[in-house]
Symmetry: C2
Subunit: 333 residues, 2 copies
């Protein structure tokens, strides 16, 4: 039994290249007691993969999670035919042993999503959904009628944050990188969507979109756009710092620069809190079930950008980093 | 009866200049019911004066607080001979009416400091002390044995923060701009003091001083030094953003730049909170009495850099912005 897998052969330097990855074949061992053989059906590419690999030591199997079918099992809790969500990396077949305590890195049974597509367990009802739910609600503490800005708004997390903010009664402004994405955001209920790549005057556009200033900012991008949003935050504004995709692909020694950030932080008494979703992992069921319910009720709309074929994972990953996806980027095996 | 006062005649542009100020004489009216005539004995120059005047419309009497003696009174609560702390601006004599509700801008009776010098009401037992006490304890939430970094450590606020951190059982590292200041910080109990102006490798010096990383950072300066400290923060580190003096004197359109700040904020899950001391003004007595008690008990040492003569206020202010003061900068009339 052979698995295909992508090995990251070197650290990314600047924007990832196809040659940073190598498609390899791996002979799998037979199952020992408690082990499962899992066959990937859907795999995920996410922005975090770019910065997280910095602290690893290539060559490594490229990191990531997947929805997989258990095709052989010596573990009664995970019978053959059941589905799991596992952080197995970019591989088609995986032999794994499920730990007793679930952490974000462990595999677990696919949650009951009440009939929603299993791939949602990688998106709105999985890590990105848990990220949006807790990262926004816990750190921004939005109040009805407050103004919320979301950057990376058409991405897997941002598109959910904006819709959660609408459910909570907020005015929502999204920044995205194409007119098509901005049109889509409007169909999701965003009050205003701004194409940050073509907007001639972002300060003026934001001022027009947020005449009463910005109370909450869910930041997926960092860098200059975040600098500009900070200038229009209100007193005691809250910033949930989820990601910094605008600088993930900076070459070493050529990091992007921004004007010093402390002015508005001090004088507007802003609170900026960075987070990794693992801090709420013990509460993930709350987020997953609420997201699934909102989706089933039609209150949250989900879009996936699906790439067919395991061998296209590097292209899907690089495309996602370029913003080619709308909503969640998924690879279907 | 004539008062002397300094008028700020134009907005500062870049570093303040003597010609930004004009010494003027003002004829005072007689007292109406409830009014007092207050004669300045000690005046304060503080970093906030530089950025706060940006939003005002010169010509204005330059802003600031003072300890003054009531030399005439038509208000029974403030009899002749009593002392007040008031935000009267840079003036020798002031006619004022005390409001019913005290805000940071109002005058109030000098608090009972148990025999400490009245000028302390402008420093360790006044606004800077309240700033240090709440800004550090409330926002950094220091735990015993944690590592605390303070920038602007030899200033009015920073020198108090470091000593409070020692009282709370922390390891304390201070950054200051002269070797003399660093030596003084050591006499206050700072574990390590680093001269950021002459240190050849701040990253290495901080790493040596904080081998277990930095848990709390009380930031008075912002800019590149804060960027460097953020790189060595621990997971869930807390940053209290009190000031950004390193960029206060930037010329318009020539703002200092730093590498994008979001990387460590996200991945170390840092919490950065800016503040203005007024948010705790209703609790100020707690801070003032605790600071006074610590000073009387010898647990906190206070130093003032005193300039003699009202007419030297601009020089004292500019000197403070250049870091010529150690501890609190005070002007004695």
């Amino acid at each position: 039994m052979k698995a295909e897998k992508f090995t990251l052969v070197r650290h990314f330097d600047g924007f990832p290249k196809s040659t940073d990855f190598k498609l390899e074949s791996e002979e799998l061992p037979g199952l020992k007691p408690n082990e499962l053989l899992c066959q990937a059906e859907f795999l995920s590419v996410d922005p975090y993969m770019r910065p997280y690999t910095r602290r690893m030591n290539p060559p490594i199997t490229m990191i990531g999670s997947q929805v997989a079918k258990v095709v052989d099992s010596k573990n009664a809790k995970f019978p053959t035919g059941s589905y799991v969500v596992g952080s197995f990396g970019w591989r088609t077949l995986t032999v794994t042993k499920i730990g007793d305590v679930a952490t974000p890195g462990d595999a677990e049974l696919l949650p009951d999503l009440g009939g929603l597509a299993p791939s949602y367990a990688l998106g709105a009802c999985g890590m990105p959904g848990i990220t949006a739910y807790f990262g926004f609600l816990e750190l921004c503490q939005p109040k009805p009628k407050e103004t919320v800005v979301v950057t990376g708004a058409a991405g897997a997390v941002g598109s959910l944050v904006g819709q959660i903010a609408k459910i909570k009664g907020c005015r929502v402004i999204g920044f995205a990188g194409t007119d098509a994405k901005c049109s889509w955001l409007k169909t999701l209920g965003f009050d205003v969507a701004i194409n940050y790549k073509t907007c001639a005057d972002i300060d003026a556009a934001l001022k027009a979109a947020a005449p009463d200033g910005v109370d909450c900012y869910f930041d997926n991008v960092g860098g200059m756009l975040s600098h500009r949003v900070r200038q229009q935050m209100n007193l005691f504004g809250r910033i949930s710092a989820c990601g910094a995709i605008s600088s993930y692909n900076d070459k070493t020694g050529q990091e992007s620069q921004v004007p010093v950030p402390e002015g508005p932080i001090v004088f507007k008494q802003l609170k900026i809190e960075g987070f990794i979703v693992s801090r709420w992992w013990n509460r993930r069921a709350e987020a997953v079930q609420q997201m699934a319910a909102w989706i089933r009720d039609g209150k949250i709309k989900v879009q996936e950008t699906v790439t067919d074929g395991f061998q296209k994972m590097p292209q899907a990953f690089m495309g996602m980093l370029k913003g080619q996806n709308t909503g969640k980027a998924i690879i279907k095996v």
